[in-house]
């Protein structure tokens, strides 16, 4: 990948991140109740994906790097699913 293309990609990612930041701040005024945290976390997840894929250049990396980059998220995903499933299955939680 040449330098100009890398720079344009980084600039595009930056503008998308700023647009999503404004969207997430504006999102609070929609008053969606219980769906609000879900929407905010979805926007944060998209922002996180943009940072990982383009600022951290995982999108242009080999399969080995995809494996290493995905490993941490896989393990934390397992922990989150196990712990949340434990909490939501308890009677006093509801």
């Amino acid at each position: 990948m040449n330098g100009n293309r890398e720079a344009i990609e980084a600039l595009g990612t930056y503008l998308a991140l700023l647009a999503l930041l404004l969207a997430s701040i504006g999102f609070r005024w929609l008053h969606l109740g219980g769906w609000e945290p879900v929407g905010l976390l979805l926007i944060a997840a998209v922002q996180g994906a943009l940072v990982i894929l383009f600022f951290m250049r995982v999108s242009a990396s080999s399969q080995l790097i995809w494996l290493f980059a995905g490993g941490g998220f896989l393990w934390i995903g397992i922990m989150i699913v196990m712990i949340i499933s434990d909490y939501v299955s308890r009677p006093w939680w509801r």
């Binding site: 890398e6 991140l17 700023l18 999102f27 609000e36 951290m56 080999s62 941490g72």
Partner: protein
């Protein structure tokens, strides 16, 4: 002999293997950091949904404007760090140095705003402990929000302080021609760490600042 010649360490067979090994290595470290911050974020999320009203009240006390400005500052520093890595690989030394120093400066500005915010919270007596002052609702649950807020943002700030130090050292090495187009991995690896610190903040901002509701 060119001063920008590629440096291949003896235990690697070629530059590509050396580059991939460095990238995989920093991702192992980042994986341990994901587990660390992930556990904190998970603990916060469990309590956020257990004490939704109290946590929303606590979050509403935070300064959303300063938090938003700080988020934009970190995104800008992510852009300058990314451009610094590109400029270095293209052999543009001057641009690399300017972009690295801009990145470090933006990190310092972020920390300055964070200190101002902490002072604001301290003045409003929102720091957990005997001096914690809350009369609206259940104080222990709101205090728990601020315990997690100070731990999560404090540890993130520590990571950013380390990041600023690393970027300054990388800039100094680039100035001395120890990092250049032929030896770019230290800068690329430092960039991955910096972007990870940005990544953590994205989730902290959403969880801590944005879930406070409008007042």
């Amino acid at each position: 002999m060119s001063k920008n010649r590629a440096i291949l360490y003896e235990h690697f067979s070629d530059i590509e293997q050396q580059r991939e090994t460095s990238t995989a290595g920093i991702w192992v470290f980042i994986g341990s950091e994901i587990m660390f911050f992930g556990a904190l974020i998970l603990a916060f999320s469990v309590y956020r949904f257990s004490y939704a009203r109290e946590f929303a009240e606590g979050a509403a006390e935070l300064n959303l404007l300063l938090g938003g400005i700080n988020t934009a500052i970190l995104f800008t520093s992510g852009l300058t760090m990314s451009l610094a890595a590109t400029a270095n690989r293209m052999g543009w030394k001057g641009s690399t140095l300017i972009l690295l120093l801009t990145t470090a400066l933006l990190g310092v500005v972020f920390l300055g705003i964070k200190v101002f915010e902490y002072h604001e919270d301290w003045t409003k007596r929102l720091f957990p402990g005997p001096g914690f002052n809350w009369t609206d609702s259940d104080s222990p649950q709101v205090q728990l929000f601020f315990v997690l807020y100070f731990i999560m943002t404090g540890i993130h700030a520590l990571h950013l302080i380390v990041g600023v130090g690393v970027v300054v050292v990388i800039a100094w090495l680039a100035l001395r021609d120890r990092i250049h187009a032929g030896h770019f991995m230290p800068l690329d690896v430092a960039g991955l760490y910096w972007h990870f610190v940005d990544l953590v903040w994205v989730f902290l901002f959403a969880l801590l600042y944005l879930m406070g509701g409008t007042r």
